[in-house]
Each structure stands twice: as C-alpha cells, then as structure tokens.
Symmetry: C2
Subunit: 279 residues, 2 copies
Amino acid sequence: MARATYAFVPGHVTVFFNPVRHADPARTGSTGAGLTLSDGVAVTFEPAPETRVVLNDAPVTVEPVDRVLGSLSATGRVAVESALPLGEGFGVSGAMTLGTALAVNAAFDGTQTENELVERAHVAEVRSNTGLGDVVAQARGGVPVRLAPGAPPHGALDGIPAATALEYRSFGELSTAAIISDDVSAVQSAGERALTDLRAEPTLERLFELGRRFAREADLLTPRVETTLEAVQAAGGEATMAMLGETVIALESGLSDAGYDATACEVHPAGSSLCLGRP
Amino acid sequence: MARATYAFVPGHVTVFFNPVRHADPARTGSTGAGLTLSDGVAVTFEPAPETRVVLNDAPVTVEPVDRVLGSLSATGRVAVESALPLGEGFGVSGAMTLGTALAVNAAFDGTQTENELVERAHVAEVRSNTGLGDVVAQARGGVPVRLAPGAPPHGALDGIPAATALEYRSFGELSTAAIISDDVSAVQSAGERALTDLRAEPTLERLFELGRRFAREADLLTPRVETTLEAVQAAGGEATMAMLGETVIALESGLSDAGYDATACEVHPAGSSLCLGRP
C-alpha cells in the first residue's frame, strides 16, 4: 500500500577531498573528510502519477532527485524542508536524493536494502555531477572520513568520534560542477596529503587545520572566506571552508566569538534515517 | 584534560545468527540480523585512579567493560543507566563496552577512530564470550544485517530500512556463553539459511518470520517463548525470540494486542554516539 513516508538526512560539509573517477559511477567518488550537521533535510514522499519536487514550499528541479526517482521507477510528490541552502556546500542535493530514495522505498514497501539505496543515491549524484562523497557521508553521520571512494560495498568509511557544537556562515554559492569537472590535479594531491595526515592524527582540531591547508593548496579560498578564517583564528577559534560553497564552518562558537552572524548547530550523531512521522 | 564524557548505545536484539570463529578475535563474530532499540544504555565516564563500574546505581562487574578499559590503559568511574536488563538478549554488555570505549577516548582526548573503538569493544566481547555481533550492530543502528563477521574493516554490514514501533517482554536470562560455546552446528546451518533467505527478501516481516524458523531449527525456543510467539501470531501480530534471552520482541503493539504486559520502544534510527551532555 502506497502511503506518505518520511526521512531525515543530515547536512554534510566536506572539509577536504580527493576526487576519484571510474568508468563505474558506483566506484566513482572521493576520499576525504567532513562534518555531518544536526541541521539537515526532512523529506516527505507521497506517491502520485506525476512527480513534483518542492523545497521549502517552492517548486524546484534537482537533477539527482529526478534520477533516483527514475532508478526506483517511482513518481510522486517530494516535499523537502531544509534549514540549509542549496549549492552552498552543505550537501543539500545529496541529502534530498538520499532522503527521497529512503522514503520512496518505504512508501512502496520496497525491498531495497540501506546499502542499495545509498548506492542509487550516490550514483544519481555522480551522474548529475552534483557530488562525489556527500551521500555516503550522510548515510554514516558523525564526522565521516572517506577512506576509499564510492558507494557500498566499494567505498570504505571511518569516523572521528566527536560530539561538539558548530557554527556556520554562508556568503554564497560556488559551482560544484565547475570545480569537480575542471583540472583537478592540485585538488587531488592536496586532498591525498590531507587524508594521510588526518589518519596519523585523527582529531577534530587536526581536521580543521588540514582543511585550511587543503583550501590554500587547492586554491579554493575566496577573499571573504580567507578573511573570515583569519578572524576566527585571531579570536582563538577553529574554522575552515565548506567544499564547495562560499561557506565557513567553525568549532563551537568560533564565528560569533569573532563577531560574525552565524548559525549554531551540532555534529549529527547519526546518519540518514527513515522517520515514523514528519521529522 | 580529563573530564566527564557521555555516550549512548542502543540496545540490540539478535533475531538470528551464525557464529564464526577465527584465531584473530577481530575476525571472529557472527553473521545474522537483528533490531537496534531506542531503549539502550547511557554511559558516563570520569577518569579516576581506580576503576568502578555501576549499572543503575549498583556496583557490577562486566568482564568486557574491564577488558576495554585495559585495552585503552584507562581507569575511572563508569556509570551506566540502562532501561534494559543485562543477560536477557538486549546486547547490554556490548552496549556498555562500546559506550565505555567511546567515552574513555573522548575523556582523554584520545586519537582512536570510531572503527578502532568498535574493534576494541568487539574484541573485548569476543574474548569474554559475551557476544559475537552486538557491538558492530549497535555501532550502525537501524535494523542491521551482518553479512560478514568481525570488527571493521573485516566485518560487512547492510541494513533493512525501517522506522517502526516495537514491543518487548522478557521472562528471564539465558546464558550467551553456554550457547555460543556449545556445539553450534545446528545454529550455524539454521543461521546461514536464514541469512540467505533474508537477502532474497529483505523486509521486516520476513525478518520476523525467519527469526521464528531459526529459533525452531536451532532448538532455542523455551516453552514460555513458544507460547508467547503463538499468542502474538494468533492476534495477527509478528514476534520473534531475542537471541539469547528468554525474551520476545514484536512489531508495533503485537505483544499488548495479545494481552501481554510489554515495553514499547522503536527501532533506533542511528547507532552508538558520543553525546554533548548526559544522554
């Protein structure tokens, strides 16, 4: 019996990454590390003859959401409530795609497993060129470290155990597609070096420090982000850039301590999940 | 700086399992499937020169907790609040052990990753003969399916995507150690067959049905459990036996619909996690 179903997927800020392409989109992805956020995306799905996707009550077209619906041969109304903006480095397209996959399977009493739904959402993101590592990180939660690229069972994850308050501040969009389709050798070498160094010292403080080094080495800093990172450090805090948005994320109250308007949240303890009722 | 730290670990009911022994305890474990519960174990750890473990305010000795403290070279006060009884098939020893590992690492600003802490807790359980699959399932959350035995990176997990209400009722203890140390060929063949059949049809209803078949084939049913399972089915519900306790778990209100006093909870959406404050 088709019915309305609900899923919640945490936001995800990539701190550093190394894109890895493969002929198989399920093996394409990125290694790297990031933070999942208690702010995220709540998806409500209701089967219907025509598909309609709305984000915070406004109609929207999000290619990987359409792709994942197609891959599950489903149509219906996808209603998304998001505290986070699309396109600013919070993994909102990945969250919408994974949340849709989970909710659609539940609505039709489907027989996909969690790993299969994560793979479908990951492949939809890879094909749409909208993300390489958000979906697998969002499925895990916490502070995910992507050791090997791709969807399960190809990808491999670990995590930095951490419960902490965070703050974020966005200054605008950067195009994920332009940057991850471009020449990526500087990104790759910086990302690989950062992962090696994080594995030698897997702590939150080291993650932020390596994020700043990655952003400089990969030449991804914008002037506003650079100024903000310097201000947070001058105030004794830890901050780094969200990949890929003109967005800064800080430990605890790092941004407001430095005088910025910022939104507070926490590391999300869990990963994506179905919900019994509206999240 | 040492300080008090907090972790929450969901309860875990194994529905069926196939024990797999290996010379390396990190590769020892079980395949199978189960349900993590929103009822679980909250651990508070405070470093101290002497170790003291209390469960719901009563001093207690739990061998794998002592082992995991030893493996992290830590001593201190482990205070556990548990809604679930020890020894009745809810994975409480695994939850206490994993929660202790997470909280100890955080208290000492340790550099263990999540996977490393899961491995330490899993190995402590295996060496104590108190569990073979609870820890890895509790680290994942949801409705975990254990495809390959052991701690990360050896073990492999998937999950049945499900948000549902549950009920449980315990009639008493069964000795995990006696059963998983015993001749296990009937358990192994029943467990292997159940996993094959669940993978062909990975749904909650099938999980409960295969759990009942496993309990019969492995000859683990007690008279009280058998009577209760029959009563729940007669009332139109789905129930199965918790491995290993004299305990019945039912979908939704299956036990109370059949006239039993039962405790209500839900599938836990997430896995184990550190908490910012007392859970």
